[in-house]
Symmetry: D2
Subunit: 340 residues, 4 copies
Amino acid sequence: MVNVGIVGATGYTGEELIDILLNHPNARVTSISSRSGTSQKISEIFPKFTNRTDLTCDPINVKEINKSCDIVFLALPHTVSMDLVPNFLKAGKKVIDLSADYRIKNLKTYEKYYQLKHKDAENVPMAVYGLPEIYRLKIRDARLIANPGCYPTVAILSLAPLVAFGLVDLDSLIIDAKSGVTGAGRKLAEGFLFSEVNDDFKAYKVGTHQHAPEIDQELSKLAGKKTKVTFVPHLLPLNRGILATIYVNKSQAALRKKQSLIELYKKFYKKEPFVRIKEEGNFPRLKDVAGTNFCDIAVHDSGDKIIVIGAIDNLLKGASGQAVQNMNIICGYPETAGLL
Amino acid sequence: MVNVGIVGATGYTGEELIDILLNHPNARVTSISSRSGTSQKISEIFPKFTNRTDLTCDPINVKEINKSCDIVFLALPHTVSMDLVPNFLKAGKKVIDLSADYRIKNLKTYEKYYQLKHKDAENVPMAVYGLPEIYRLKIRDARLIANPGCYPTVAILSLAPLVAFGLVDLDSLIIDAKSGVTGAGRKLAEGFLFSEVNDDFKAYKVGTHQHAPEIDQELSKLAGKKTKVTFVPHLLPLNRGILATIYVNKSQAALRKKQSLIELYKKFYKKEPFVRIKEEGNFPRLKDVAGTNFCDIAVHDSGDKIIVIGAIDNLLKGASGQAVQNMNIICGYPETAGLL
Amino acid sequence: MVNVGIVGATGYTGEELIDILLNHPNARVTSISSRSGTSQKISEIFPKFTNRTDLTCDPINVKEINKSCDIVFLALPHTVSMDLVPNFLKAGKKVIDLSADYRIKNLKTYEKYYQLKHKDAENVPMAVYGLPEIYRLKIRDARLIANPGCYPTVAILSLAPLVAFGLVDLDSLIIDAKSGVTGAGRKLAEGFLFSEVNDDFKAYKVGTHQHAPEIDQELSKLAGKKTKVTFVPHLLPLNRGILATIYVNKSQAALRKKQSLIELYKKFYKKEPFVRIKEEGNFPRLKDVAGTNFCDIAVHDSGDKIIVIGAIDNLLKGASGQAVQNMNIICGYPETAGLL
Amino acid sequence: MVNVGIVGATGYTGEELIDILLNHPNARVTSISSRSGTSQKISEIFPKFTNRTDLTCDPINVKEINKSCDIVFLALPHTVSMDLVPNFLKAGKKVIDLSADYRIKNLKTYEKYYQLKHKDAENVPMAVYGLPEIYRLKIRDARLIANPGCYPTVAILSLAPLVAFGLVDLDSLIIDAKSGVTGAGRKLAEGFLFSEVNDDFKAYKVGTHQHAPEIDQELSKLAGKKTKVTFVPHLLPLNRGILATIYVNKSQAALRKKQSLIELYKKFYKKEPFVRIKEEGNFPRLKDVAGTNFCDIAVHDSGDKIIVIGAIDNLLKGASGQAVQNMNIICGYPETAGLL
């Protein structure tokens, strides 16, 4: 049994962490906190937790959290996490940070996309990118997890087999991604009002989204050389889920050999409990992954191009579910504990 | 041809007024203004007006508006309208006020429900309640129209025939109303975020909504004695439309005579272009009224009770469409001009 | 550990039973079947079960089911269940029937509303109405559970305290109910197409819905005399959830004594794990109950009237969740097992 | 004033044609018909037309239609239109066919994608592809209009300037398109039920959609050589609108010269009333085009790639609106008549 703290409990990913961890067979939630000033029962903030827990959501108090928790989840906005992380690390706590603060290894890139000087450069190098399907062994021993972004999770899992085996032209990676609204957090902006989003659909941050360099960083590592993604995110009129349709050109190597891409993907993800490869002619849909920690992937051979379609729940495999999966790995619990 | 000004153009009802009036065969929009500080093309604020108009939305300037307009529409929040109305009236303009400021004749009631002392008590008595089906003759000569609220429009039209003919117990008027989100205006509050409203449904302001006294005021006038409505509004996960399901007890008079309520309603609304009475066994649905100025009504005889179901588009018959209908009456244009 | 069979697995309630029971700590799903002709992996029918189970959905074979199961869930359409129930009962199996076939004790009423002569009149009297909050003791020893309808579940739970204590006029029970689309099952009718339901809202079966006599039957039992509900269901543009707004007149007894209705409700449902009473000024919303087995209830004192608002997930507390709750009671498991 | 007939009135495009043409200043609807067997007031089929028209929808009777109409709109399913077209042409009527039957010039391609031998090969060559922005002059004198498909309309308009001026590599045209549900017509299939589409998103017909060859046919004509599109359509949980995100590689010519793509597009569509080019940093959204005949286009220079985003209302610019635009051209009316 591990004692966990959830810092930043009132956002969507915090709410989701509470939901998962209250039912987790090996975890005990011992601290819930947020940046708001007063203490309040979490079931008053989120009435859906009534009859499930009497825990209180308190102002963030590092000392108290260090006293009661073994693992700390930070579900805070980008640029806020890095103020707190050093304090938990110093106290010997394991930290799973859901923000972007420790994901980008190149601080210049971080500072360009997040428009802020990094305040904890020292701990960035030791942070492990928490994508279990790629970094499971490192996660096991990590002290600080940089939990991946939602778009990067689905993009990297969808492209990893092709990139790792040199089957695609690394300059031609086109990622057309569509996300539900919770991806933006509980943000009070006119663009997220129901009357604006309902019956609407649009692209946003075309060519400027901060997840593009995160995807490039990880794909480049897998490929052994620089990749260049063209990434266009869109906003779907629904709450949960990301579906990415990815278009790539085959490399010379891929054009030469005849092989079943589906078999390749199945083999690559053979032992993965949360990656499901679709059979020929079948494609992911958000309904199948919403509310789950699964990533569904279809790969379609289209002559000189390959079309890959991946789908996840942005709040689960794209955030809180993956965070708990990382906790399970760190603690040596079954990787699916609390997540099926 | 009448020159019209739209004050408060950036809210939903203002946007809707622009949309209707740009296509109106007898109106010329000569001024668009809002409380924001700078001038900007309206097609930059609402890109959907691109290629339709080059008009600019300017800061509100009473003098300029009085110079260029014959009729002024005020699509402003409650409590803001009454600051401006006297200035337009003094200049001899006709004013159609979409706010609640001149609807409630009893100032104490107004002040209780809108939590503010009325600042233009003088002009309240002369304001005509702009429900054409009831007050057409008075509207014709009005200088100031208090355009009805969205809930009151559908509630009053649904109940008027029963109340006017003494067919119902006036203490037993139960109005269970369900509204789309635009009813609340373009309000930046967490409760109106897409992720909060989508897949959700709930009652709000149970027993305290400010439209209840407005409904009671008008029904009491029709009945010749005091009515008492029980009014519960709900929030629907859709943009446009209000459907009200109304339950009333038959009066002794109604219980005595056998009569077809549907025929009664058809006769009552015989010459009305925008009221449509459903045949037996048919009931309104929002889709049939959304985007239109119609009010669809079904009346169902259920023994000692009567069930009435009414439906409108809250932004049209419940606001901007009705405002233009009032303008048509004032100007002597065909009542449906620009509205079919 | 109990072996369970799910008959009628391809509808919404069947799908939901599989979802719950695959994760239930005390149940083992040993048979999944449907009326379609061939065997197929359930994960091919519902890809979301991929990686969760390898079970096959087979044509219904009573003998095989009797061999492998202790408890049989029937998630079949009304009028189909009664063909099968006797076969399972004869084999000594416990049966939880989600259809309406054994709910209505008066066969004439059944035949009027379901338009069919009952084919298993013999077993109707022994069927226990599976509403645990009212019939827990009987459920414990039942051989056949008539699992309640979705609307009746929320209506009865919302009214039970008032009716049981004689606080309301039994002729004045007005139930204005709004349901998500899954309440109708996976029915292929034009009225349930996305393009028809999205952005729409309407009443249906006004005064003729088959759940009205079910509600009256149960409330009459609680009251000790006949009740008469006025019941109008509506179709919401969302998938899951029912919210009922209920209007009743206080009885003379209630008018005489001053008492807190909220306290009364809290006491009445004190030990119930799945009923949550809202505090003053708070009201249920579908989001809080969707995906859960909870029933949230608010009771509002409005002078001579009482307004009660209840909310459930129609597929869980209104169907499959309640069915599993009944199974837990029958088997002596914790009542919340698999349901929190 | 032109007399028009609408054949196939009960589908979404037929309903839309009625809506537009009832309000058209120069058209008189003289015949409404459908394949169903009996005559019925159109306002009984679509209650929203109550108080707007008393026209009857009759079984299709070619003789009667030829007697009362000058122009015939066919809003029929593919493969049904070609049975009727010759009869209207022989009678000297102008025909605007909204089906795909006369769009594809290569009959083998038609037969491959629509799985049926063409029954009116003779009239295919004379049919004019009804995209006014490209074929306005030919449309003026056409006797038979093949009204474009919804996806092709937005795809061709979005790519025409680039393809016509040789600015893109013609093998690299990737069209990622997302459509609302009405694009599929009023089709009774499980996949189009509200409970299946709501909260869902998915790709379909990946690499096999029948609109791909239609797009290639028209782009090849513009380019003067063969193009090859990669086309992946997706289903959005909303009723109306298509947004296509298009990725292309610049040609050598384009890489050499520095030019503003936005200016190029503005010039290309300078006189077009229904094409609107977005300014730098602005992108189309479905809300701006839904309910209109506009096509909004953004073009984004991304180094060696160009990203184009186009949006239309699939039922208007993608079907019935464009059909009326074609009628306006044929009749010499202002092209925007009835469409703004």
